[in-house]
């Protein structure tokens, strides 16, 4: 790379502010300059080998400028990202009980698996004969997911849970169109469904109708009423989450399934809460015709600050012809990608799918085995109920009534009305948890003013007990002086953010 002759710079006197550079927690700094602000013109972290062929002139009318990216040396680059990493909570460092997100431990054998050069160096258009190990792994993953679902055929293509919902809805719609029922374009979903459910419906041109869900449960009378008013032959599917988004297994799932099927519609399971039922029940056992998994929830693939995930779907045999292509198949021990499915909806993303994520998923399923998976669900449910039981005297649990045999599944909802009555906001409680090294749970969802806590099976009893102590301490603080919490967090890398200002005139790029 050419070096630029630069004028020697004057030495700069460095001022060290009294507190700005004082380490706060875990080596964190008050602020970290942007990578652009660390740029020194001419610095570089990487050089390429000298060009070993003759140059060919590049027409001037085609060319533009190099992008205005920062210029740094390698150590500066690494230090920048190391510093940024130190400003994040993560499962490795903190308890992260985000309801509906299943923040379980991410095993490192999964990462080892996905980083093997025999996997990472594969081009997606290579011939099947060159991919036998990878295709075998994908085929086995497919079969594992079918077995756990109690359904017939999986597609590994969707890139995330919402993408899986979209794909399955397209498949269901294609099935009805192929069977002379194109008018079935309405999808029912409980009012407490994940936001992705209605959004996915919109993306495939379906109308979504909300079903009442008092106490978290899908209201059977409302379901019947809607089907009758809208006309049974216009309904495509009911999208249900079970255990539902309030963390409760629906005792009436059999009846719901019957009502939906009697209307000629199909039952779709949002598999976000699969961690609660692995090996104890299968969606196929309670009437689901199609479902998606979130491998980044249930099967321990890392969340990576927001992705990647994978959202494989599984369907009953009559829907299988409509699944995306390619499908990974096995014939006499030889694995292949099959494209010739004339009724397929086509493709929902390029190539095969999130292969590297699916490698991690396969590795986790192989590590757990059938007994291990069942124990995952059992411990996840036990840990959630344990926390709920120990917190219920200070934090009201509208859906948790162990005295009458009503337990939660793998997560629980608290609406801490007594504490909120002292003048504290839910946000204050959440932000105070950060000070105690706990990531705040999901807030205001599925009901207003709630915290939804999902401990997962991988947390130790010591961590669970510490969480109880933290929640009790926060309750004490509120009872003593509710206003003190408005300053939280005090020990984080930053104080509380002005989110309203961020939205008022959004600044989404650096303009320096």
């Amino acid at each position: 790379m050419p070096t630029t002759m630069m004028k020697p710079a004057e030495p700069v006197h460095v001022e060290i502010p009294s507190d700005a550079e004082t380490p706060r927690t875990r080596g964190e700094r008050a602020t970290e300059p942007l990578v652009f602000e660390k740029s020194s013109p001419g610095a570089h972290a990487v050089t390429l080998p000298a060009l070993d062929v003759a140059e060919t002139a590049i027409p001037a009318d085609l060319t533009g400028e190099a992008p205005a990216w920062p210029e740094l040396g390698m150590l500066q680059v690494i230090r920048h990202y190391t510093h940024l990493s130190q400003r994040n909570f993560c499962i490795d460092g903190e308890f992260y009980p985000l309801g509906s997100c299943t923040m379980k431990f991410n095993p490192r054998i999964n990462e080892h698996a996905a980083s093997l050069p025999g996997f990472t160096s594969l081009h997606p258009l290579q011939d099947d004969e060159d991919l036998q190990g990878a295709l075998k792994l994908l085929y086995e993953t497919r079969r594992f997911l079918e077995e756990i679902a109690g359904l017939d055929e999986a597609s590994l293509q969707p890139a995330a849970g919402a993408h899986g919902e979209y794909t399955a809805l397209k498949v269901i719609r294609a099935y009805f169109k192929d069977h002379g029922q194109p008018q079935r374009n309405k999808v029912l979903a409980p009012e407490n469904a994940h936001g992705t459910n209605p959004a996915s419906c919109t993306m495939c041109g379906a109308n979504v109708i909300a079903v009442k869900a008092p106490g978290g449960y899908t209201d059977i009378d409302d379901l019947k009423r809607i089907i009758e008013e809208e006309g049974a032959d216009t309904i495509m599917a009911l999208m249900i989450t079970n255990p539902n988004t309030a963390g409760l297994f629906d005792r009436k799932i059999d009846e719901i399934s019957k009502i939906v099927h009697d209307a000629g519609a199909l039952l779709y399971l949002d598999g976000a809460n699969m961690n609660a039922i692995l090996g104890r029940t299968r969606p196929g056992d309670f009437g689901a015709d199609a479902m998606h998994y979130n491998t980044h929830k249930t099967f321990s693939t890392p969340h990576g600050c927001g992705g990647p995930g994978a959202g494989p779907i599984v369907v009953r045999d009559f829907l299988a012809p409509y699944l995306p292509v390619p499908q990974v198949v096995e014939n006499n021990g030889v694995f292949a990608l099959e494209f010739d499915h004339p009724k397929s909806i086509g493709k929902v993303r390029s190539f095969v799918g999130q292969f590297g994520v699916l490698v991690r998923c396969w590795t986790y399923l192989r590590a757990c085995g059938p007994d291990g998976l069942r124990e995952v669900a059992e411990q996840a449910v036990l840990s959630a109920n344990y926390l709920a039981a120990r917190l219920q005297d200070r934090y009201e649990m509208p859906f948790f009534h162990p005295e009458s045999g009503r337990f939660c599944a793998h997560e629980f909802v608290t609406v801490p009305d007594r504490l909120l009555g002292k003048g504290v906001q839910l946000l204050d409680i959440a932000k105070r948890m950060i000070d105690y090294g706990v990531h705040p749970p999901t807030m205001h969802w599925p009901v207003r003013n709630c915290l939804m806590v999902e401990p997962t099976e991988t947390e130790s009893l010591e961590t669970l007990d510490r969480f109880v102590a933290v929640m009790h301490r926060i309750a004490d603080e509120i009872e003593r002086d509710a206003s003190s919490l408005t300053l939280a967090p005090q020990n984080a890398t930053v104080k509380r953010l002005d989110i309203v200002a961020a939205d008022r005139k959004p600044k989404t790029v650096f303009e320096g």
Binding site: A134, A162, P198, G304, G346, T508
Partner: protein
């Protein structure tokens, strides 16, 4: 090994605290008819050591770019990745964090995404960018949805020179919507003629989507294409120009923004992401400022904390599915955060000079190899237009045979354009060859010798 650390004794303590005598009591809500009493038919649990062995066998049963020189492209490219990226991306603070909804506990990823957005906006010559989509094809489909949504019109014109999988995904996404996808025919010289755009554009046209370099590696004339579609529409909102771009080409050639694009969407894999059999990758999505409130996906913005210090948070979440439901701009929730982090680390390490050098080496090596192959008896270049780092060769025999023969020479010679996966975009003798900075002169010599021997 299911990573549960709680002991049987502790389990009993927990049951006692709840006031039940068995775990079964907690599953009582599952109706008897729906309970699964059997055992899942899965292989028994394996130890980590057994898995390491088994994975080594599975990985070893593949023959990819780690054992053969890869001249395959068609949307996925073998590029240099600095060693530090795998190391730093593996830090638990990046790997095992969630979406940064709780800003005070996520300043690291938020700042990194803000920097990523800035780098992508600058790379594409546009104002804003989001924090990633699933991959290139869905990013393009989302661009079409944005165009439909913002113009209120229904026709989406798309160049027939997009990668086949991008076209396939667009067809899926447009189907069932009040939208019509018009696939523009490819001219004899392998590009989209502006006249074809003018012919198909009408007052109901929402956008034209043009990829450059296109599926044949050829450089399209974005500026003329976008100008043509805008001029052809005289009533109502102007249609949008959607540029489907390659980030490496952008570092050398004119950017989408410089060519008048309103939206740029593309596959981010060339920015530090291994080929890994098609995913996970990341979709890049940038646009003019006026589309900020209609953007799909997450956006990070700058704000202040209570002490007035600079800090970052997600912004405009009211566009997103968890707030807006059926009226959201997209259903995307989980995105490709860790891949966006890879890409931003890659861009910071490469810098403007490094990425420019990569792009220039791609250009020079591809052109050198193209000349040498065209000089071989029986071989010629299929198209005469300008290309970047990928080109189509007409072989003296079916590309399938050439590719098969080259494997024995340790080469992945290219992509057969007549195959199903490439949607028969070329005749059976047409071979698509990509050359990146990774390919050495020795490997190029080997490919030339292989083509000569087997031609």
């Amino acid at each position: 090994m299911n990573y549960v650390s709680i002991t049987p004794q502790q389990r009993q303590t927990m049951l006692d605290a709840i006031g039940v005598d068995s775990i079964d009591a907690l599953f009582d809500a599952i109706p008897a008819s729906s309970r699964f009493a059997g055992e899942l038919d899965l292989p028994p649990a394996a130890s980590e050591l057994e898995l390491q062995r088994e994975l080594a066998v599975l990985a070893g049963a593949n023959r990819g770019g780690s054992t053969r020189a890869c001249f395959m492209g068609a949307g996925v490219y073998d590029h240099f990745i600095p060693s530090f990226i795998d190391q730093i991306i593996s830090r638990g603070e990046f790997l095992t964090a969630y979406t940064p909804y709780q800003a005070e506990a996520s300043q690291g990823s938020l700042q990194a995404f803000f920097e990523f957005q800035t780098q992508i906006a600058r790379l594409t010559g546009l104002d804003i960018a989001n924090a990633s989509m699933y991959e290139g094809a869905t990013a393009v489909a989302e661009a079409a949805l944005l165009a439909l949504n913002s113009t209120g019109k229904r026709r989406v014109l798309v160049a027939g020179t997009l990668h086949p999988d991008t076209l396939r995904v667009l067809r899926t996404y447009m189907d069932d919507l009040p939208a019509k996808l018009i696939e523009l025919p490819v001219s004899e010289d392998g590009v989209i003629a502006p006249a074809v755009i003018a012919e198909h554009a009408d007052n109901d046209t929402a956008c034209v989507i043009v990829q450059s370099p296109n599926v044949f590696g050829l450089i399209e004339n974005w500026a003329t294409c976008f100008e043509t579609v805008k001029n052809a529409v005289t009533v109502g909102a102007k249609p949008l120009g959607v540029a489907v771009f390659n980030p490496i080409a952008c570092a050398l050639l004119k950017t989408p923004g410089a060519c008048g694009a309103d939206i740029a969407a593309g596959e981010g894999q060339p920015l530090g992401v291994p080929m890994q059999l098609g995913g996970p990758y990341l979709g890049l999505f940038s646009a003019k400022q006026e589309f900020l409130r209609k953007m799909p996906g997450r956006l990070v913005g700058e704000t202040m904390d209570a002490d007035g210090r600079r800090a970052f948070s997600l912004v405009l979440q009211t566009r997103e599915q968890h707030i807006r439901g059926a009226k959201a701009t997209s259903n995307i929730c989980t995105n490709q955060g860790l891949l966006a982090l890879r890409a931003t680390m890659h861009m910071s390490a490469m810098g403007p000079a490094g990425i420019r050098a990569v792009a220039e080496q791609c250009w020079h090596k591809a052109h050198d190899l193209a000349k040498r192959i065209a000089a071989l008896p029986g071989y010629s270049l299929r198209y005469g237009g300008e290309f970047f780092h990928e080109f189509v060769v007409t072989c003296p025999k079916p590309a399938r045979q050439i590719i098969d023969a080259a494997k024995a020479d340790g080469l992945l010679a290219g992509v057969d354009l007549s195959c199903d996966r490439m949607a028969h975009m070329g005749g059976e003798n047409e071979l698509l060859i990509a050359v990146t900075e990774m390919r050495t002169k020795a490997e190029m010599d080997a490919l030339v010798a292989s083509l000569k021997k087997h031609g």
